[in-house]
């Protein structure tokens, strides 16, 4: 009885800040200006299919790159003594304390046509290259901003693996590569799924990164939604419909991944 009572503030919080906004998004997406039901806006989303494909594509690439970079880092960290690894985790987190906009601005001045990178390349006689306003720059921005969100869940899962399991695997004939594939990898799957979620979801809905590093040609879903609410294309119904479709896509991808995760646990 008492525990139920204690959960009331949380339920109220959830209701006011999660459920109600969700219902409002759904309401806006499925009605027109007069408040009558319509599917027109949902079907209109279809014309932006290329933006969806680009957003999901770039986010998937960024997520995979994050995973490839973060995995060995997290594994090495998990093998260090506690105080050492904590220091390094702090250093990795440090850029996170700086404003998101500021960090992305920094990349703008690095990648610009007259930016530092091209300047240095010019000194040794190559370039200039078009670095900014490319999809590569958008992916770079995503990886840079979201990498810690991949490292942390991986590290926290790997750190809990009993090191004697690695010795046991070695004892039973595994070389170091097999220790990774047969023991570390299967045991770190929960960290991988969590890390992918924590990188993919913000990446697929970002609009600042694409705006600042992608120029006009790399419009993402986030930009599209923002334009419907704040930009000159003002159309909150379409904006809500795009949000709704994006939400469904993300949910589908997450469900797919979690079922893979569970299968992994049973199969191996």
């Amino acid at each position: 009885m008492k525990t139920k009572l204690l959960s009331v503030p949380y339920l109220v919080w959830m209701g006011v800040f999660m459920i109600v906004p969700l219902l409002m998004v759904a309401y806006f997406a499925l009605t027109d200006d007069n408040g009558t039901f319509t599917l027109n806006y949902i079907t209109d989303v279809g014309q932006y299919a290329n933006v969806f494909v680009r957003s999901v594509g770039l986010s998937v690439i960024a997520t995979v790159i994050c995973l490839v970079i973060a995995y060995p880092i997290a594994f090495l960290l998990s093998g260090l003594k506690q105080h050492r690894s904590m220091t390094i985790v702090m250093i990795i987190m440090l850029p996170m304390w700086m404003n998101f906009l500021l960090r992305t601005y920094a990349w703008m001045s690095l990648l610009g046509n007259n930016g530092y990178i091209n300047h240095v390349l010019g000194l040794i006689g190559i370039g200039p290259y078009k670095l900014i306003n490319t999809s590569g720059a958008v992916v770079l921005g995503m990886v840079y901003n979201y990498l810690p969100f991949m490292i942390l869940p991986l590290y926290s899962v790997m750190e809990k693996i009993d090191p004697s399991l690695y010795e046991a695997a070695g004892d039973l004939g595994c070389n170091s590569r097999q220790v990774i594939t047969k023991v570390v990898f299967p045991l770190s799957v929960p960290g991988i799924t969590l890390g992918i979620t924590m990188v993919f979801v913000p990446a697929v809905s970002t609009f600042i990164i694409s705006r600042m590093l992608g120029g006009g040609s790399n419009l993402l879903i986030g930009d599209l939604i923002e334009m419907q609410f704040l930009g000159n294309a003002y159309n909150p119904h379409l904006g809500a419909a795009i949000s709704l479709v994006l939400m469904v896509i993300v949910l589908l991808i997450m469900t797919l991944m979690n079922s893979f995760d569970n299968e992994e646990q049973v199969l191996v």
């Binding site: 009993d162 004697s164 399991l165 010795e167 046991a168 695997a169 070695g170 004892d171 039973l172 004939g173 595994c174 070389n175 097999q178 047969k182 023991v183 299967p186 045991l187 646990q265 191996v268």
Partner: protein, 347 residues
Amino acid sequence: MENIISLKDIVVEFDGEKILKEISLDIKDKEFVTLLGPSGCGKTTTLRVIGGFITPKSGEVIFEGENINSLPSHKRSVNTVFQRYALFPHLNVFENIAFGLRIKNVPKAEISKRVGEMLELVNLSGYERRNVARLSGGQQQRVAIARALINRPKVLLLDEPLGALDLKLRKGMQRELRRIQQQLELTFVYVTHDQEEALTMSDTVVVMNGGKISQIGSPTDIYNEPVDAFVADFIGDSNIVDGIMARDCFVEFAGRGIECVDKGFAPNEPVDVVLRPEDIKIVSTDEGQLTGIVKTVVFKGVHYEMIVDGGEYQWIIHSTKHEPVGTQVSMRIEPSDIHIMKKTKEI
């Protein structure tokens, strides 16, 4: 080839501190060897040197006549049952046991057959699909043994495998392990800090203390002829008191001169006198050599344990009969039951 494993002057250091101090040990083929010693004396470390998880700072590890110092653990024909089992939580019982064979790409049919045999050997048939995390301590321990044995190692290293089990299960598993060792004709190197376990199971007991080997011998030798006061104290309860060898076959302790059978000490050399609790007999006053007052009596199942206050020393006595608390008793020790040891430095 007599010795399957030899350790020669093994030194292991952690953070500049010597953990193993020139350990030398020969292990014969098909022998049940137990490393016995108090916590922190270096038993696990010695086992890890043999298993290939630690490279010694100096010294040689010889396996069937060859130096294997630089051979990594996955290439040694030695398998380990770890102190806390280290079963793979993501694999079920069958896959845990099959792990070593899968790594060696053994054909599927043979894997099924051999895992089945192993499950039978450790009495776990029917548990194939169980999650290892939900097994009892005793069952986990048997999975760990099966997982190691399926690779048909020449030597099995076991690090306190029965540490987490209750007394009854322990006794059962001790018999079980001994049976497996004899049935498969394997060499077992077994670590424990339980002296009774060491004495009942082993062919050879290696008593370790502070990173050194104190004594190597058969259980009877270790029990009856401990080389120093530490071994005597560690192997069973002992009364250890200061004495002086007045001359050959005559020792003075607890204010009395008593005949014994040891000789070869310098005249009036200070020694440790070790008396087993079951060797101190309660006798009538005229036969007695020592006297004291019974302080406590505890029934230990087979015998009574009495603490007798003799003024200078508290004597521990084991006997099937007991005297009431508070009575004055006389005690007698046969000359051959008095063990004289050279003084060792206090540890």
